[in-house]
């Protein structure tokens, strides 16, 4: 079947690609572009490990056909740290021990980033609701919530 030309702006860089329509955005990011920081946990949108930000919105990239992302601006975990500085959410995950195996971490950080960009002023319960699409099997979520709340507090204070 015919491949389609696709232009993606990923972490600020333009990528002009020719891809099969059946390739998901996740596969395009990982296999075609080589950004393997975004993880595949379930392939069905149920774990959130593949979360990236598309035009400002967090989405599960395993449910998106790569061809439909053409012309869009995408941020992945690799695009979060700037000028050698970790994003406050990344730093908070390290400081609190908000991960153990680290596999769900990129997805959690990207989902959290979209949330605090939208509104850092959320309660613990609101963050729990909003992060419900990200499954972690190691931490029991306690230290993840601590990390997100700590980062949100820092972002609120600095803005």
């Amino acid at each position: 079947m015919a491949k389609h030309p696709v232009s993606l702006k990923v972490n600020g860089d333009e990528h002009d690609l020719l891809i099969e329509p059946r390739k998901t955005l996740l596969a395009v990011l990982r296999d075609t572009i080589g950004l393997t920081g975004t993880k595949e946990g379930c392939s069905t949108g149920d774990c959130g490990a593949c979360t990236v930000i598309v035009d400002g919105k967090a989405v599960t990239s395993c449910m998106v056909l790569g061809v439909t992302a053409s012309g869009k601006e995408i941020t992945t975990i690799e695009g979060l740290a700037s000028d050698g500085e970790l994003h406050p959410i990344q730093q908070a995950f390290i400081d609190t021990g908000g991960y153990q195996c680290g596999f769900c971490t990129p997805g959690f950080i990207m989902a959290s980033k979209a949330l605090v960009d939208e509104n850092p002023d959320r309660t613990e319960e609101e963050f729990r609701f909003a992060l419900g699409g990200n499954i972690c099997r190691c931490t029991g979520y306690t230290k993840i919530l601590e990390a997100v709340l700590q980062a949100a507090e820092e972002i609120r204070t600095n803005s």
Binding site: M1, A2, H4, E20, P21, R22, T24, S43, T44, G45, D46, G48, T51, V54, K57, A58, V59, T60, C62, M63, V64, L65, V67, T68, A111, A114, L115, F129, A130, G132, G133, N134, I135
Partner: protein, 282 residues
């Protein structure tokens, strides 16, 4: 995933004629179709994206408070719309119950309905809003009431080439509420879903509408229960009667996770609870 031809038409007419072909599927948000294609339960030869067609998304409110929702509107937008939250609370709540924020940023209300899952979370809210479903095809346009759209699990009255374009919510409620019976608090499929909406006049229920999801082959209105409430002053006994009448109207399936008796019992419980909450919100 099987290989397929991919089209991104920019007009409804083009989409409709492509869609009339055999083995073609529409891609709205993709959250059902892409997963189905991965599992080989969907094997279209042609996939037609509706994402490049202008004018299919967005929420507009008219002066008479009637609201239109474009079929390609993301369910996250439905969830966050202040007008929908105010006049169709049950629908906004239903939208907020779908998957995760990441999924709701992709999934569309049209896709949620066209997929015709009896358990779709927006359907009970649309039922109690008396939604009118506008449909377009190469042959023209038509409109059907939401409770006439579904014919069975995964089945609708939509004919080949027909595409849902928008939902018109004709009937604002003075109070409404949706509850989904589920195991997990988020990221779960509804065992059942119940929406209740009431309009009050001088302390009397002028009209009540009850929408039930996942309790029958198609989503249904509990009309007997509605009639029972109409014109009455709400009391716990009345709500209990309505709950029983709603449960009696259902024919749920049994599975190993949730028996038919359990589902029926929940229709009773949740009809009472949603009615009470809808009344409290008036």
């Amino acid at each position: 995933m099987k290989s397929f031809e991919f089209f991104e038409p920019t007009t409804l007419a083009e989409a409709s004629s492509l869609f009339a072909q055999k083995h073609a599927q529409l891609l709205a948000g993709g959250t059902d179709l892409v997963i189905g294609m991965k599992a080989y339960t969907e094997t279209p030869e042609t996939v037609i994206s509706l994402q490049k067609i202008p004018g299919l998304d967005g929420i507009t409110t008219d002066n008479d408070k009637s609201i239109s929702i474009g079929a390609m509107t993301k369910v996250r937008q439905v969830e966050l719309s202040e007008d929908i939250q105010q006049y169709h609370t049950a629908l906004a709540e239903g939208a907020s119950e779908i998957g995760s924020i990441q999924i709701r940023n992709l999934a569309t209300i049209g896709g949620n309905i066209a997929h015709a899952s009896p358990a779709a979370d927006t359907v009970a809210g649309l039922l109690v809003a008396d939604a009118q479903v506008d449909i377009a095809s190469a042959d023209g346009e038509r409109s059907v009431p939401i409770n006439e759209l579904f014919t069975g699990p995964g089945q609708t009255v939509l004919k080949p080439g027909e595409i849902i374009t928008q939902f018109r919510l004709l009937h604002p409620a003075s109070g409404s509420h949706y509850i989904k019976h589920k195991i997990r608090e988020v990221m779960d499929l509804a065992f059942i879903g119940v929406a209740s909406a009431v309009n009050m006049q001088n302390g009397v229920i002028k009209e009540a509408r009850i929408g039930l999801a996942a309790v029958a082959p198609t989503p249904i209105r509990a009309t007997e229960a509605e009639n029972l409430l109409s014109g009455k002053t709400p009391t716990p006994e009345l709500l209990a009667q309505a709950g029983e009448a709603a449960a009696a109207a259902t024919s749920p399936i049994s599975d190993l996770r949730c028996s038919a008796e359990h589902r029926k019992e929940m229709v009773d419980v949740l009809t009472r609870r949603t009615l009470q909450n809808a009344l409290d919100r008036v």
